[in-house]
Every structure is written in C-alpha cells, then in structure tokens.
C-alpha cells in the first residue's frame, strides 16, 4: 500500500484535515467498499467514478430524488399560470371575442399552457438538479489530493469527510484499508494564504459596473424626449402594408377599406333585450316598477344618492329643486334651491342675454307633473335627456340610472311625506 503526500503548498501552519480519499482498483471493489462504508454508519461521504456504476446508488443507500416532485409541481404551476393568464386577459380584463368562440375557451388555451408546462418543468429540472446537488461548487477538499485528477478518466474513489460524526483519522483510514483500497490520501481545507486573487475581485467589480450601464442608458432614453424616430431593434409588425382607417380601397365594390358591420350586428354585450331594464317599458306603457336587478334596498338607495349628487345635483340641486309649497307661495321658484350650473346659467341669461331661449331652467323634481311620472319615464329622461338636459346613457350605467330614479323617488317622498310615513314611535317628535 502506497501513500503519497498531499499537494498543499503551505509551508507555515499545518494543513487542516478535511477528509480521506481512498482509491479502488475497479467498479466492483468500489461497490463492495461503498456497501461497507454505508453499513459502518458514515453519512458524509461520496463515491467518484469516471462513468455511472450500476448499483452504486443502492450500495451507497441513496434515496430516490425529490426532483420528479419539483418538476411535477412546476408543470402544474405552469398550467395554472398559463390558464389563469389567458382567462384574465381574454375573458376578464379585456374581453375579446375571436372567431365567435367563447371568451374563455379551453382548446385555444391549450398550446400556451402546454408550452408553459414544458418551460417551467425544464427550468425546474435544470435548477432543481443543480440545487439538489449543491452546484455550482467551485472548490472541494478532494481537489487537494493528487490522485483525484484521475476520477474522470480511470480512477475509482471513495471520499469520507472529516465533518462526518464517525470520522476518526486513524480508524477511518483503517476501515478503508481493510476494504481493499489501493491507496489512501488525505484531503485538506484550503490554506490561509490561498485566497481568490485580488485582480479577480477588481475584474468582477468592473464587470458589475459595466453591467449597470445598459439599464441606466435604457432608463435615460425612456425618460427623455428626442426629435429622432425611435430605434427599432425588433421590427415586429411595426412596418407592415395596411390601410389607415377610413382609407379607400379598390378591392371592394363600395371602395371602402373598412368593412361595415353586417346588418343586424350588435356589439358584444349590447343586445339590451330587456325592455323593462334598458328602456323602462312595460308593454306599451312606462314601467311603474323597478326592474329585477335593482331591488329597493339601502345599498341601492345610497348608491343612487351618490350618483345623483355627482350627475344630477349640479343642475337640479341637492334636494331636487323647490318644494311644491315654495312654488305655490312664491309663484316664482327660489333659484337658490337649484344647483350651481343652473344658477350660473340663469344669472348669465338675466345679466347678459335677456330673452335667450337656448336654455331652459331645470324642472323641480317636486312638481306634481314630475312626481306623477312612472319610474320608467324618469329612467327614460335620464337615459335620453329632455330639453337642455343631455342624455346620460353613455356616462351612467343602466343599473345606476335606475338607482338614481330610486333616489329621486325618495327625494320626492321627503317633500310630500304624510304622518303615516313616519315610524310610529317617532311621530311624537313632530308634534
């Protein structure tokens, strides 16, 4: 049995022992030795061979790897992310109908899901393999043994780390010798003097500094203005032959490049088939009840009040205009009960253009002619406007228009309340 000196080059302090490296004559000897070392109860040790030796996993007692589960998890995550992304972008955030398919249609989403499953699984397999093997690792004490260089050509080795609780320099050596090792070499921790050269640090610093430049430059151009056209590193579909909107085209008989929609085409979500909800009609008359989605609840009333205060109060006033009693008493409405816009318009007409008929003062919502209107008619007025009042169809969603009607009804009730409308236990407060 021969023994060689380790190749550590420090002359000063004695090298710290990191482990023992034993060489074996072939894969069979290595297999038998691995079996024995495992039985001896060692846990921090490894076998090194130039090619995979069948049965070594079993001899070393290596348990099946966790990696397949990581890959499975990554694959499932890939499917979930891809499907969620497509569902959110296509069906929720920016609903878009393609080829008359449902917004969320599974067959169309499979390819992206498939690609993402493959991508995340492959990345998980790659990164997981490195992580589970504690790679990258730039240095290991076995490198201090001269023989170890042959581990990738024709050497079969077994290394036991000094960190193993059962490690004892002489007893471990005796065990390895008894297993038929042809040579045993100690491995050492890196000596004090052997550090990474300073030049490498400097190089790394310079590389890091240079790496910051491109993002800085990109950030600068993104936040500055330039007369020159932008650079097109990726052309994509930026320059393609196409028609501008409203352009002419000889291709079609009518000479238009933009194709008109087919007769009877209705924009997505604008069929508005519910006569009651969308037009306030019940048969041939105005609806006298609220449509199904707008129930008479506190929430709807509050929402109606807030919408009213935003869209209606600027003209009609926060209370809906003068009460009937005021009208009767004064003959002429008190302007202060209207909103700012109405007041300002009235002032200007009075002061600057007397006799101007382009503006009509808003009606008080408490006038008997308004109070007597069915809710459907009020809804219709909000939707399409009346006289100088503009249409609010485009600004206020249909349910909110009904909520405003609900609040208008509450306002009207507040000016025409009877004693019976007050809860019984509070009636005494009024007397």
């Amino acid at each position: 049995m021969t023994e060689t000196r380790s190749t550590t080059e420090n002359a000063g302090s004695p090298p710290i022992l990191a482990g023992l490296l034993a060489e074996f004559d072939g894969p069979d000897a290595l297999l038998a030795a691995a079996e024995k070392v495992r039985q001896a109860g060692y846990c921090r040790w490894d076998a090194h061979s130039p090619y995979p030796v069948h049965g070594l996993d079993r001899a070393m007692g290596i348990r099946p790897t966790l990696l397949p589960w990581l890959v499975l998890g990554a694959g499932i995550a890939g499917a979930a992310v891809a499907l969620h992304l497509q569902w959110w972008t296509n069906a929720v955030d920016y609903p878009l109908i393609t080829s008359a398919k449902p917004r969320f249609s599974l067959p169309a989403n499979i390819p992206v899901a498939f690609e993402l499953i493959v991508l995340l699984s492959a990345l998980a397999a790659f990164a997981g393999c490195l992580a589970l093997n504690r790679l990258p690792q730039f240095w290991h004490p076995v490198f201090t043994a001269r023989r170890f260089r042959r581990a990738t050509s024709d050497g079969f080795f077994l290394s036991v780390e000094a960190a193993d609780p059962r490690f004892d320099p002489s007893r471990t050596r005796a065990l390895l010798e008894s297993l038929g090792a042809s040579a045993i070499e100690p491995c050492h921790e890196p000596a004090e003097g052997r550090r990474i050269p300073r030049a490498l640090y400097r190089l790394a610093m310079i590389a890091l500094a240079l790496a910051v430049l491109p993002p800085l430059w990109i950030a600068r151009v993104r936040h500055s203005k330039s007369e020159r056209p932008r650079i097109h590193p990726i052309q994509d579909m930026d320059f393609q032959p196409r028609y501008q909107s409203q352009a002419a085209s000889p291709l079609f008989a009518d000479g238009r490049a933009m194709r008109p929609a087919l007769p009877g085409t209705i924009a997505d979500g604008q069929l508005d088939a519910d006569e009651h909800l969308h037009r306030g009609r019940a048969g041939n008359a105005w609806a006298t009840t609220f449509p199904v989605p707008v129930h008479i609840t506190r929430e709807n009333l509050d929402r109606g009040r807030r919408r009213y205060n935003i869209f209606c109060a600027p003209c009609h006033g926060l209370t809906g205009g003068p009460a009937p009693d005021d009208l009767k008493r004064q003959g002429k409405p008190d302007k202060l009960l209207y909103g700012m816009v109405a007041l300002r318009a009235a002032e200007r007409i009075e002061g600057e253009q007397p006799g101007y008929t382009g503006w009509v003062m808003p009606r008080s919502l408490h006038e008997p002619s308004v109070v007597g209107q069915p809710v459907g008619q009020l809804f219709n007025t909000i939707t399409h406007g009346l006289n100088t009042m503009p249409a609010y169809e485009a600004q206020v969603p249909v349910e909110d228009r009904w909520r405003i009607v609900l609040y208008v009804r509450a306002l009207q009730r507040s000016q025409n309340a009877r004693l019976e409308d007050v809860p019984e236990d509070r009636r005494t407060d009024l007397k």
């Binding site: 069948h54 499975l72 067959p107």
Partner: protein, 412 residues
C-alpha cells in the same frame, strides 16, 4: 449506457426457455375455433341490423384497422430500434418482429373489403356509389383517386411495401440467429432510416384511403400520423402484455427484466402523449377555423352517444394514463404496467371505433355485441397466426451483438 464489469452477476439468457414449443399444444386450434365462431356470430348478429351489413362492415373495418395498427406499430418500433441502435430493446425485438411479420393476417382480412369494393358495394365507402358521385361534384373531381381500381392498386402497393420491410427484418434477424454475423446488424441499421420514411408515407396514405375516405369530403393531413401514433401505443401495449404472458408461461424469464419493462413503460408514455399531440393538433385547427367542410367529420363524432365516447377517449387514452404512467414506480411495477397496457389497448380500440363507427350509426349505445364479436374473432386469428410464425424460432435474437448489453441494461 456504459457497460458494467460484472459478468458474474449477469443473468444468462441461454438458461431461458426460448421457444414456444410445449406451450399449450392445443392453443392455436382453440384460437382458430374461437375466432371462426365469434366471427360467424358477429356476422349473424350484424344481419339482424337489417342494414345490408353496413353495421357489420364498419365493425369489421374497426377490428381490421385495430390489428393492422398494432402490426404497423410493431414495424415502426422494429425499425426505430435499429435506427437508434438501441441496445436495451434487443430482448424484446423478436416479439415485435413476429408481430410485424404477422402482416399476412391483416392483408387477408382486407381482401373481403376489396372484393366488395370491386363488386360495386358502397356500404363502407360512399364514393364507390356512382349516384353519390353524380350528386357531388367534389366526389367527381376526386374520382381519379377515390375509385375502386386505384384504391385496389394502392392497397396492394402498401401491403407489398410493408411486407418487404417486415420480411427483411425478420429474415435478417433469423439469419443472424444461425450465423451470428454482426454485419447483418449493420445492414438492418442502414435500411432502418429509409424504411421509417417509407412506413410514414405508406401508413399515412393507407389511413387516408381506408379510414379517412369513410367521409370522402373530409380531409386532414395529420390523420395518417394520428393513426400511426395510436398504432405505436397499441403495439407497445400488446408487446408488454405478450411479454408478461410469456414470462408467466415460464418463457424468457431472465431475458426481460424490470429494466426492460421500465423502458417499455417510458415508450408507452411517450407514445400516448404523442398520440394526444396528434389528436389535439387535428382538433384545434378544425375547431378554430370552424369551416363547415372540416367540422363535418367531428359533428357526428361529438354529438349524442359518440360525444361521450370522445370524452372517454380523451380521458382514457390521454389524461388518465398520463398521470397513471407518470411515476417511475408505475412503470417498474409489473401489475401497474400490465393494467395500463391493457387499459390503453382497450382505449386504442375505442379510438378506432370512434373514427369508424359513427359513419354507420349515430344513435343508440356506441359499442355493440357485433363489434366485440368481430374484435374477438379477428383478434383470435391474429394471435393464432403470430403463434404459428413464432413456432420453431427463438423468442430472443440470440446472436445479436447487442444482446449482452440488453441483458445488463439498467436504468439509472
């Protein structure tokens, strides 16, 4: 795989029972009787349908295309094993060679269809009816390709090509059994590439002719690969079941190990995923474009009872076995692998029934007694003939230079 240096632990394949001799001497005769009986029963039950044997003919075509797909799948696997110079597969290659050389049976089974066609019968293929051709200008335009004589000539050409490849590989392999000449392996490898190309092309055309033209106005370029990939699934499942059956009958005990089953399981998994890829690629484009002439094929196959069959095929031929075969443990467990092989074989048949049968009937329970009788009948003949071929030859290519590698093969 790198060779290990453990000759002492290598099992000796020469100690195995290598031939079928002595195994159930009555087996072939029993199979032939069962086959004839089942086929006659199917024919009689088919007459009860009172549709001029339309139903029976479709069931017959289903059974035929099922057995043919297994044969072609075996042929593809034999050539692929040579093309990849696979060492591990030598243990199981002879069984595949026998299944591929069993082509004689599907060829014989196709004869009645050809005779009926030459007779002017249009129960299977509507393009053979002159009235249909007169009504439909597209059919008239296709008549140069889709009519009895060119169809017949092409069928002869396909079978001749497959027969040449199958005989080539079985003959050379048997020759090597006798001579042990490694040059034969080189020769088989050299021809495997061209053979694979020829199989891909003829298989595609055959699938177009025999299955796609059931709906003569419909066309899908991927259809041939869809059929062939299903065939590879069927061939692998058959191989796994046959190998396990032979081992239970005390044959090939040491030639095929859990390592080979593991690899066959991996291939089965890959083949079913590939099949799913083909099936979905065909479906997605047609579903997306939604053109009437293309969706016409899917319409009867996704409506009524066939819609449920389509769902069953999607689950049973792809999603469920995908997760069933995903784990290493499932592929290394004989019981689990046998279960999934039998399962996939059944669903491969159902897939073909789903392709063929909706042309015959759209309502009622999709799978009938006639289909099963025909399947048992044709399948019995198929097995009996394979048995006949296998008789008197070794079940492992004993002199193959890669046999030692196959014997020592281990998955990492």
């Amino acid at each position: 795989m790198t060779p290990t240096m453990k000759p002492s632990t290598t099992p000796d394949v020469r100690a195995d029972q290598m031939s079928l001799s002595g195994l159930m001497p009555e087996g072939r005769r029993v199979l032939a009787v069962v086959g004839a009986g089942a086929l006659a029963l199917g024919l009689a039950l088919g007459a009860l349908h009172g549709d001029g044997h339309r139903y029976f003919l479709h069931a017959y075509l289903t059974g035929f295309s099922f057995l043919l797909s297994i044969t072609l799948g075996s042929l593809v696997l034999v050539t692929a094993l040579h093309a990849t110079r696979a060492g591990w597969g030598v243990s199981v290659r002879r069984i595949l060679e026998i299944l591929a050389a069993n082509l004689f049976v599907p060829a014989l089974m196709f004869l009645p269809i050809l005779v009926l066609l030459a007779w002017g019968h249009a129960g299977l293929y509507p393009w053979n009816n002159p009235q249909n051709v007169a009504k439909e200008p597209l059919l008239a335009a296709k008549a140069g390709y889709l009519s009895a004589l060119p169809f017949l000539l092409r069928a002869v050409a396909y079978f001749a090509a497959w027969w040449a490849v199958a005989r080539f590989y079985l003959r050379h392999s048997l020759e090597q059994d006798a001579s042990g000449d490694p040059a034969l392996t080189v020769r088989m490898e050299r021809w495997s590439g061209p053979a694979l190309v020829a199989l891909g092309l003829t298989g595609t055309w055959a699938a177009f002719d025999w299955l796609m033209s059931l709906e003569p106005l419909w066309h899908s370029t991927i259809f041939g690969l869809y059929y062939l990939s299903g065939g590879v699934v069927g061939a692998l499942a058959t191989l796994i079941l046959l190998a396990m059956g032979l081992q239970r009958a005390d044959r090939l005990r040491s030639a095929i190990t859990v390592e080979h089953y593991h690899d066959l399981g991996k291939l089965l998994f890959a083949a079913l995923v590939f099949w799913g890829y083909m099936a979905f690629s065909q479906y997605l484009l047609i579903w997306y474009a939604n053109l009437p002439e293309e969706t016409a094929w899917y319409r009867p196959r996704l409506a009524g009872p066939w819609g449920w069959v389509a769902l069953a095929v999607l689950l049973g031929h792809l999603l469920v076995p995908f997760f069933g075969l995903l784990s290493r443990h499932a592929k290394r467990s004989r019981r689990a692998l046998a279960f999934w092989a039998a399962w996939l074989l059944a669903f491969h048949w159902l897939d073909l029934a789903w392709i063929v049968m909706p042309s015959a009937h759209g309502r009622g329970f999709p799978v009938g007694l006639v289909d099963l009788c025909v399947l048992v009948g044709l399948g019995s003949f198929y097995l009996a003939w394979a048995w006949r071929i296998a008789h008197g030859m070794s079940l492992v290519p004993m002199q193959d230079p890669r046999l030692p590698e196959a014997m020592e093969f281990e998955n990492m």
